[in-house]
Amino acid sequence: MTKYLVRRLLGAIPLILGIATIVFFAVNLAPGDPTLYYISPGMTQEVVEQMRVNFGLDEPVHIRYVKWLGAMLTGDFGYSFSHSRPVLDVLADFLPNTLILSACALTVAFLFGIVLGTLQAIRQYSFRDSALSVVLLFFYSMPSFWLALMLILTFSLFARNVWEWPIWFPASGMMSTDYEFLSFGAKVRDRLAHLVLPTTSLACVLTAGIARYMRGSMLEVIRQDYVRTARAKGLSERVVVFKHALRNALLPIITLLGLFIPVLFSGTIFIETIFAWPGMGRTIYEAILTRDYPVVMAGSFFFATMVVVANLLADVLYAWVDPRIRYE
């Protein structure tokens, strides 16, 4: 196990270096000069040249690559063009917000996905199974940005202004403008209310995906001999399903963690932009539009590294919870 862990960790290093290289060249080989986004009319040529030197764009690409890689290995991600402060500070501001949102979405998605998939599998080919299949595939086919808009339309705008429902959810930001003046309980409620719509729109696609896998996994387990034995010795259906089948069916679901993290991060770009959520996804998107090279590079590097780590974690977790899996 330790040997396997070490081998996987060592294998991840060239992967991360490769990612860093692609990130760098995808950004730096693009035509055009990012300095032009930051000059104001009337600046003299000398000032523009000085800015280019400050941005570190005056050197040839291969020199910049070596310098960037060296600096990055010591934890220095450079200086953001548009935020005018170190990239790490920018990340430190926005990354936690993305992690809150992602964690909520993942929890909701795994919870609902596992429950729905199980409900389908224990009555295969029933009306419930096929109806849920179609509904889940419907959500699986849905672009998250459209779902987000529809949720805003229904549960925020129409609920509040047209139908005048007693409950509606805020459609933007992480907290209300009067957040500072609220009592502690109201603060918590305010934060939660702001989480509802973004989490739902992020989690829907994932839930549908997880439920599809869960159904398949559960169906496979239910056909196993030990489940038949459990039934044969007279255990109640509940014990059979939840204690014998579900636990084993959950194992392959762990690997989905690695599979769905990239989907989740791609989703945050839309969801954070739509809900004005101050997170990494929106920051990267804005950085791309303003050609803030250091933030784009650091942000996508962090995203990609987290994907690698999540994959690693999923595999190790899988090997740990299922002793039958043996890695050489």
Partner: protein
């Protein structure tokens, strides 16, 4: 006379009917749908059809599609139901079994019918759409008009007809989905087959590349490349095609690894066939089943991705209608003009849903382990 003159006569009258009566509702329904649809366009828009003969190239394509659709649906149904036709050979090849399994799957067949209808709509749009997609009505009075007789799905911020734009938008989505999946599947299959067959350092290098591309949040890479170059339809197709291949490569490699040990491949190696020939003639054809499934599901994913890029303003550029852009157009006027974002989104959902249904159906049909 033979036993079945009546269905054939019906087939001459209404294509697809004999097949429907025989219980083959998938093929019969499709033929009927295509024929009735084309006839309806021909009758209700006869003036436009005659004018389109001399029109732009897309109008001429539409007329061609219309006439082909009418002829093919009718001729196929007639021949298929003809008593003189040879009795159907009951095939037992992998593909025959898969076809039979697929046609028993009602939702998958329904999905396939929707896809056929969508491609027909995409080709026939110039005849079908009520208005030109870029025609602007009176800006003072006809902006953000709700659902009405003149504009069944309302109008947008430039007083353009949403229904017309929706129909034209189908072209972009289907075209981009089809072409970029074509590119990515070709690359993925070749890379996967080469890596799996040659093994060794080639395999090591290619699979590391696959690992790197897969760990990337696709959207970030796509947005970066597209934003830094000029967004255009060619760039989008190319970038989507070049970033989506690793999944196919993984699937094909896995398949090839097991095929490599099979007798017929060993025999081909022993006969001294070139590597090229073994890969192209022996390995790839036999690894195709999972590729077809992945490609069908991939078209759905690609359509969502393209819509997402367009939503962010990095896809197909205005004024060309694209579903993603249309959803984005409605974003700031959700409360006052809810139809602007809603309908293009529904179009995306149903298109992608159809591809996913067909993909699932194909997987069930092509995977012998699931067949009962």
């Amino acid at each position: 006379m033979s036993e079945a003159p009546r269905p054939r006569a019906l087939g001459g009258l209404l294509p697809g009917l004999p097949q429907l009566l025989a219980g083959r509702w998938g093929s019969g329904g499709t033929a009927l749908l295509v024929w009735v649809g084309c006839l309806w366009i021909l009758v209700t828009r006869f003036g436009r059809v005659t004018a389109a003969f001399a029109g732009a190239w897309d109008e001429r394509v539409a007329v061609g599609t219309l006439l082909t659709g009418l002829t093919v649906a009718w001729a196929w149904s007639w021949r298929d139901a003809s008593p003189g036709a040879l009795p159907k050979q009951v095939g037992v090849s992998q593909w025959d079994l898969a076809l039979r399994a697929f046609s028993r799957n009602r939702t998958a067949v329904a999905g396939l019918m929707v896809i056929v209808a969508l491609y027909m709509v995409a080709l026939l749009t110039p005849l079908l759409a009520p208005l030109d997609p870029n025609f602007q009505g009176a800006l003072l009075t006809e902006r953000y008009v709700g659902l009405s007789g003149a504009h069944p799905l309302g109008t947008d911020q430039f007083a353009r007809d949403v229904l017309s734009r929706l129909l034209y938008g189908a072209r972009i989505s289907l075209l981009i989905g089809f072409v970029s999946v074509g590119i990515s599947v070709t690359i993925g299959t070749l890379v996967g087959a080469i890596a799996g067959f040659l093994g060794g350092w080639v395999d090591g290098v290619l699979m590391r590349v696959v690992d790197i591309v897969i760990s990337f949040p696709q959207l970030v890479l796509l947005i970066t490349i597209i934003a830094f170059f000029e967004p255009s339809i060619f760039l989008i197709v190319a970038v989507l095609g070049l970033t989506l291949w690793p999944n196919t490569a993984r699937v094909v490699r896995g398949e090839v690894l097991s095929l490599r040990e099979r007798e017929f491949v060993q025999a081909a190696i022993a006969l001294g066939y070139s590597k090229r020939r073994i890969i192209l003639r022996h390995l790839i054809p036999n690894a195709l089943a999972p590729v077809i499934v992945a490609a069908t599901l991939g078209i759905g994913q690609t359509i969502v991705l393209e819509a997402g890029l367009s939503f962010l303003g990095l896809g197909v550029q205005p004024p060309t209608p694209s579903w993603g852009t249309m959803v984005a157009d409605g974003r700031n006027v959700l409360l006052n003009a809810w139809w602007l974002s809603t309908f293009p989104g529904l179009a995306i959902v149903f298109t992608v849903l159809s591809f996913n249904l067909v993909g699932d159906g194909l997987r069930d049909a092509l995977d012998p382990r699931l067949r009962t």
